[in-house]
Amino acid sequence: MPQHQSILEFKRGRYFKLALLLCAASVAAYVWHEPSTSQLKPYGGTWLGYTLGTMAAVLILWLMLLGVRKRSYSSTLGSVQGWTSAHVFLGASLIVIATLHCAFEFGWNIHTLAYALMVLVVGSGMFGVFSYLLYPARITNNLAGETLDGLLLKMSELDRKCRRIALELPDEFNALVMKASADAVRHADSGKSLRPWWLGGRGRNRLGEARDALLAMGSSLSGAQVRVNEQLVSEMTRLVSVTERVRLEFRLQALLKGWLVLHVPMSFALLAALTAHVISVFYLW
C-alpha cells in the first residue's frame, strides 16, 4: 500500500461507491414511494420517511463515533483511515438522505434546526476535506524538515542575541529591540487568525519595520558601534525570516484545523437537536 494514500482513494473508493449506492437507493425509493396520484405530499412520517430518518440518525451517531475511534489507539476495529474515508463519504450522503427524509419541507422549528445544523456540520466537514488535501504539502514545505519547537528555539536564540548586542548601542536601539521582541510574538500570533486578508487578517509586519528602522538608524552611529549595529541588523533579519515561517506554520495549522472549531461543537449541537427532533415527534405523535 502506498504510504500517502488519500482517504478519498481508500480501497479504490470503496466508501464513495457505498455512499453513492445509498443516495441512489434513497432517491429511487423516494420517487417510487409517492406516486403522482397522491394528494398527500411525502413527509417524514410515512414508512419511507421513518426509514430514511432512522438511517440518517444512525449515520449521524456513527459519524460522531469517529471522535471516539481515532482516540482509541489500541482498537483494531478497522483502520482509522478506513473510518475517516467512510466518515467523509457517508457524511456527505447524509445531505441527500436527510433532505429526502424531510421531503423538502422546511420551517422555523427544531426539525429544520436539526437539518440546518447537519448541513453546517457536513459543509464544514467538506471544507475540512478540502483543507486536508491542500495544506499538508504547504506545511511540509514551510517547515522544511524542522519542527515548530525548533523554530521557536531559534527565535529565542536570535532574540537573546539581539538584546545582548543592543546593550552596547544607544538607548533608542535598545528600545527598538525590546519592542521588536514583542512584535515578533504578535506577528507570529497573527497567523492564528482566520480572518481573511481583506478584513485585516494579514496585519502589519512590525518586526520587519523594526529591522528597517535599525538599518536606517545605523547611519547616526560611528566607530565600533557601526559594526555592532550591522551585526544586530543581520541577526534581526534572521529573526524576521524565522518568525515569518512560524507565522505561516500557525496560519496553515489554523486553516487545516480551524474548521474543526465549527465542525465538532456543531455536531454536538446537531446531536442535541436530533434528540429533541426525534423525541418531540414521538412525544406529540
Binding site: 394528494q39 531559534k154 512560524v246 418531540s280
Partner: protein, 631 residues
C-alpha cells in the same frame, strides 16, 4: 572611597541570596554601559542612567541619561539616607545602613525581570492551549440545545407527572406562592381524605414563568401550519396529542366531531382484513400540520380495500374498483318501483341493458312528444273560446329546463310538479262551459265531493258570479222557492251530472289517465294509482349538475326518442370517460380520483328496506356539510 553593593536575588534552589561586593571610587556611575561602576545590564536602563557622588553632606544621586524615582517620586537629584529607595528602570535600589568605614550601602534588586525571549513566550502560550476550547464549546452546544429544545418544553408535563407520583411535592412547590391560583379538581387519592378542605393549587411565580417559556418553546416543535379548522388549538397541543408517545386517538377527534359517521358500520367489516380496517385511525387519512387543508390520502388507500372489497366486508355487494379510468365497474342505478315503494333495486348498467333497467313509476310520460322540435300545443290555444283546439300557428317549443330545474345547490334536479310544470297545458278543467274552475291535482278522493257540491249549487240556483251553468242542467228562476221535492229532484240531477263529469275526467276525456293509471272503485269513487320515481339515481355519487352546466343535457340524458317513462336515461360510464380520466393525469382530460365523485364518511348507512332513503339522507347531509378536505 568604597561603596558596598548587595545584589539581591534568588539562588538556584529558589532561596533568597545576597551577594556583596565593594566598588571603589569617588564617583559611582550607574547605567547599562560597560564602563559604569554600578552596571545594570538591562536594555531598559540608559547607558548613563545616574551618577552618585560623595560630599560632606553624604552621598548624592543625580539623574543622567534616564529618569529617577526617589521613594516613589520622580526626582532629578537627592541626598541619600538610610531607608531611601531608588527606582531605576526595572531595578530597585535600597539604601541600607553601611558597615563602619563605608559611606554607602546599596541593595540592588531586579524587580521586574526582562521578558523571556520571543520564542519562549510563544511556546508557553502554545502550551496553555487555545482560547477556544472545542470541548467546552461542544458541551455548551449540546447541553444548551437539549435544555432549550427538549427539557424546558416538556418541563410542565414532567412537573405534573412528578406531582401525581408524590402529592407531598405539591406542598414544597407551593411554599412561595403568588395569587395566580388555578383550581384543580382533587385527585381520587386526596378525595378519600376525611373532611379535606376545598383544594386550591397555587402556582408559584417560577412555575408560571417556566410554563410560559415552555409554551413558547413548544411552538418550535410545530412541524407545519395547522389546518384552518384546527387553528383554534394552535397553542394547545394536548387538545389532540392527549398522551405523550401515543398517536392521536380517534377519541380526541370525536370530542368535536361527534356526528361524523363511519365509512361502513363496523358490524359489516366481516372479511379477513376487516379487523385491520376497523382499527384505522382518523389521523391516518387526515394528516394535520400540512398547511391550511387537512391532507387526505390518495385513492391508493381506497383501493387498498376496494380492489378486493370482500376481503374486508364479506357481504359487500359493490364491485371491486381501483381507478376511474382503468378499473371502475359500470354504474349501478338505484331504481324504485311504485308497487314496492320501500324497495330499491340496484341494477348495473351493461350492454345490452338488462331487462329490469326500467323504472316502474306508474307515470305515463312521453319525452319525444314534449321535446318535439316543432313545439307542443300552446296553452293560450287551449284558452281559446273555441274549446280545446289548437290556436292556429301557436305552438311552444319546450326544452329540458322547462320542467327540470336544479335543486340542492345544483346537485340534483327538483321534482317535476304538476301544478308548476304541467298544468298550464294539461288543464284539469271539468266543465267546458266553466273554464276557470279545475279539480285539485292529487286529491282524487275529494274530487267527487267537490263536483257534487259544485253542481248542487248550480241546480239550486246559487250560481257563483262569472259562471254560466251548462245547458243540460235545469235552471231555477231567481227568487223562486223550492219545495222539498223540487230540491231532491234537482240534487239528483246534480249528482247524475257529477257522476257523468267524473267519468269523463277519469275515463272518456282522459284528463287523469293521460298520465296516470286510474280505476273505478265505486259509484263516485275513482282512484289514481300512486306514483313513485327515484329522487336520486346514483346516490353514491357526488354529482353536481351545476358543475356540468356547460354541457347540453342530451350529452348524458338521451330522451329525445323516449316514448315511455319506463326508460332510464342515465349516462353510462363511457360517457363520463369522454371527459374524465382516473387519478393519473392525461392531457386535455379531467383528472378524477375516488374522492372526485365519492364521499367517505357514512358512505353506507345500513342495509335493509329503507336503504335508499338512508342513502339519500346521508348523502344530502354530507353534501351540505361538505367535509371534503380539498375542494
Amino acid at each position: 572611597m568604597e561603596t558596598l553593593v548587595i545584589q539581591v536575588g534568588v539562588n538556584s534552589r529558589g532561596q533568597p541570596q545576597r551577594d556583596q561586593r565593594r566598588i571603589r571610587g569617588d564617583v559611582l556611575r550607574v547605567g547599562r554601559a560597560l564602563e559604569c561602576e554600578l552596571q545594570l545590564p538591562d536594555p531598559r536602563v540608559a547607558r548613563d542612567h545616574a551618577l552618585i557622588t560623595f560630599s560632606a553632606q553624604g552621598a548624592l544621586i543625580a539623574a543622567g541619561g534616564g529618569p529617577l524615582k526617589i521613594n516613589g517620586k520622580p526626582a532629578t537629584q537627592a541626598v541619600l539616607s538610610v531607608g531611601d529607595r531608588i527606582d531605576i528602570g526595572p531595578y530597585r535600589i535600597d539604601v541600607e545602613a553601611a558597615p563602619a568605614g563605608l559611606p554607602l550601602a546599596l541593595a540592588v534588586t531586579l524587580e521586574s525581570p526582562l521578558q523571556p525571549p520571543c520564542g519562549e513566550r510563544i511556546r508557553s502560550a502554545e502550551s496553555r492551549g487555545s482560547r477556544v476550547s472545542r470541548r467546552r464549546l461542544s458541551y455548551i452546544a449540546l447541553l444548551g440545545l437539549l435544555l432549550l429544545c427538549l427539557l424546558v418544553p416538556v418541563a410542565p408535563d414532567l412537573l405534573s407527572y412528578a406531582r401525581q407520583a408524590s402529592p407531598a411535592a405539591l406542598a414544597v412547590a407551593s411554599a412561595a406562592t403568588v395569587n395566580t391560583s388555578v383550581s384543580v379538581p382533587s385527585t381520587p387519592a386526596s378525595a378519600s381524605a376525611v373532611t379535606a378542605p376545598p383544594h386550591i393549587d397555587t402556582v408559584s411565580l417560577e412555575e408560571a414563568t417556566l410554563r410560559g417559556a415552555a409554551g413558547n418553546l413548544l411552538q418550535a416543535w410545530n412541524p407545519g401550519p395547522l389546518s384552518q379548522g384546527h387553528q383554534i388549538f394552535a397553542s394547545d397541543c394536548g387538545a389532540c396529542h392527549q398522551t405523550p408517545f401515543v398517536q392521536v386517538r380517534d377519541e380526541a377527534c370525536k370530542t368535536c366531531h361527534k356526528d361524523t359517521l363511519d365509512h361502513v358500520p363496523i358490524s359489516q367489516l366481516t372479511g379477513p382484513a376487516g379487523h385491520a380496517f376497523a382499527d384505522t385511525r382518523c389521523a391516518e387519512c387526515h394528516r394535520d400540520h400540512k398547511g391550511t387543508h387537512l391532507a387526505v390520502r390518495s385513492q391508493e388507500q381506497c383501493a387498498d380495500c376496494h380492489r378486493d372489497v370482500k376481503q374486508v366486508a364479506a357481504q359487500a355487494t359493490s364491485a371491486n374498483v381501483i381507478d376511474f379510468h382503468s378499473g371502475h365497474p359500470a354504474f349501478r342505478i338505484s331504481l324504485t318501483d311504485a308497487a314496492t315503494p320501500d324497495l330499491v333495486r340496484r341494477v348495473r348498467q351493461a350492454t345490452p341493458m338488462p331487462a329490469d333497467m326500467v323504472e316502474r313509476s306508474r307515470l305515463k310520460f312521453n319525452h319525444q312528444v314534449h321535446l318535439d322540435p316543432n313545439g307542443v300545443r300552446d296553452p293560450d290555444g287551449k284558452r281559446n273560446p273555441a274549446g280545446m283546439h289548437d290556436a292556429q300557428g301557436q305552438r311552444t317549443v319546450l326544452d329540458c329546463q322547462s320542467c327540470h330545474v336544479p335543486a340542492d345547490g345544483g346537485r340534483l334536479m327538483a321534482p317535476v310538479k304538476m301544478e308548476q310544470h304541467c298544468q298550464s297545458c294539461h288543464s284539469l278543467a271539468f266543465e267546458p262551459s266553466v273554464t276557470s274552475r279545475q279539480v285539485v291535482h292529487g286529491e282524487d278522493a275529494q274530487i267527487a265531493t267537490m263536483l257534487r257540491e259544485f253542481y248542487a249549487r248550480l241546480v239550486l240556483g246559487d250560481v257563483p258570479e262569472g259562471v254560466h251553468p251548462p245547458d243540460d242542467l235545469p235552471r231555477v228562476r231567481p227568487g223562486a222557492v223550492l219545495t222539498p221535492e223540487d230540491r231532491s229532484r234537482a240534487l239528483a240531477i246534480a249528482d247524475r251530472k257529477a257522476k257523468q263529469v267524473l267519468h269523463e275526467l277519469f275515463a272518456t276525456r282522459q284528463v287523469c289517465s293521460t298520465c296516470h293509471e286510474v280505476s273505478r272503485k265505486g259509484e263516485f269513487s275513482w282512484s289514481v294509482a300512486s306514483v313513485k320515481s327515484s329522487s336520486s339515481w346514483m346516490p353514491q355519487a357526488q354529482f353536481s349538475h351545476a358543475a356540468h352546466d356547460s354541457e347540453p343535457c342530451a350529452r348524458c340524458h338521451d330522451v329525445a326518442r323516449s316514448k315511455d317513462s319506463k326508460d332510464v336515461a342515465m349516462p353510462q360510464i363511457e360517457t363520463c370517460r369522454e371527459c374524465h380520466v382516473g387519478a393519473q393525469p392525461v392531457a386535455g382530460k379531467v383528472t378524477s380520483d375516488c374522492a372526485t365523485c365519492h364521499g367517505y364518511h357514512g358512505a353506507v348507512k345500513s342495509s335493509g328496506s329503507s336503504a335508499a332513503a338512508a342513502h339519500s339522507a346521508v348523502r344530502r347531509q354530507h353534501a351540505n356539510h361538505s367535509f371534503r378536505d380539498q375542494p
